[in-house]
Chain length 215, copies 2
DNA sequence: GACTGTGAATAAGTTCACAGCT
DNA sequence: AGCTGTGAACTTATTCACAGTC
């Protein structure tokens, strides 16, 4: 359906635009220019126009963008117009915290199943979400049409878990285990490696260097 | 001391090299070539050589890099040869999980103080780390020479907390609150915005698109 | 007059290709 | 012969600049 390849950098900015649009909607702002969005997001107005133009001409020249229409478009583009269901594997500290965080905050992407090997955890619920044994991954994921996986296992089992998830039909993985998952290409992988964040920030904490405002 | 500006992309790869070097050291490997490092890290060998060359000529032509020497160099470059002390602000679910994660895993960067406004939490300890009231930020940070801040507060207070940290002399901030912190330039900021990660991954979970192996 | 959409220019980062040590 | 260090080519992403529309 789409012609050209959209840069991941663009995809990563879309939820930021969406967040601002939601705030604007709450404040009953009907129309917004790319220049105003630039002020509110910290990106340049050209960048915003270019990002949005990848998906169509949503704006009106001389006027700007309709807040509610653009919000709908972004939700549709990101696939957030339907509920996105996720499964989390690894019910440790981080997994539990992420589940609580997700359930309480989020309506768009919803953790609907947790998997763990520890018999003491299986059968219980975390913030209302049931913990299943890892053997059930394939069944539960298929039954519930889960499309996203979150890995919060130790590094040693992350690769194996990723394979299970991919085989079960998962399309996107958010990996918190401190390993770089082998790039399959049937699945989008995003690694959040906290150790790496700590260690690379140490460079700036220690040195005289300044800079990076990064996500 | 250093001539040119080192790309943040390079800084982010250094801890990955370091991780591999530690594994090699454990396996008693003494020398490694950039080609071998490439296999083990997933980056190209030219990239690795170029990254390392920013900081000096650590390798030996025709031979490779000394594992232990390169490890020492990287630790020094990243400032991990000295203990890096960090303070965490916001003792909620995520803050607590991060503290546990950090204390149990990490020797390089160490959370030594937690701040929270909730009187029920102040005075207690989390995984052995004491919780202080937010008013004490400036004193505690200066007394303990804390150089890194971790923000796990709600979005509404993140900006204010960041200012307090910067005024107290913090050099690097890891921000988990769902707001983009205003770029001061006296401090390095890295944002980990979980909502953004979920929402941008939804694009790949829903669509027919494949791809990004990203950190 | 104001603001979008976009080709052209620039900047940043990565890969190529090879000269230079050991 | 083998592997590093690095200028040059290339690729990708961002910024500039302006024509086009309301």
């Amino acid at each position: 359906m789409r012609r050209i390849r959209i840069p991941d950098a663009t995809i990563r900015r879309l939820p930021i635009y969406l967040r601002v649009l939601r705030e604007l909607e709450d404040d009953d702002v009907a129309v917004i220019s790319s220049a105003d969005l630039a002020v509110r997001t910290g990106f340049s107005s050209e960048q915003i126009r270019k990002d949005l133009a990848y998906f169509g001409a949503f704006g009106v020249r001389g006027v700007g963008y309709s807040v509610s229409q653009l919000e709908d478009q972004l939700r549709r583009i990101l696939g957030l117009d339907k509920e996105v269901r996720a499964a989390l594997v690894g019910a440790g500290n981080l997994g539990t915290a992420l589940t609580r965080y997700n359930v309480n905050r989020h309506k768009d992407v919803k953790i609907v199943a947790i998997f763990d090997n520890d018999p003491a955890k299986v059968g219980k619920t975390i913030e209302g979400v049931r913990v299943y044994p890892v053997e059930d991954i394939a069944d539960i994921i298929r039954e519930n049409e889960i499309k996203m996986g979150i890995i919060t296992t130790p590094a040693s089992s992350a690769e194996k878990v990723a394979e299970l998830l991919v085989r079960a039909g998962i399309r996107a993985i958010l990996n918190f285990a401190p390993v770089k998952l082998g790039s399959t290409d049937a699945v989008a992988v995003r690694n959040i490696d906290l150790t790496l964040e700590f260690e690379s920030l140490a460079y700036y904490a220690a040195g005289e260097e300044k800079r990076p405002e990064t996500s």
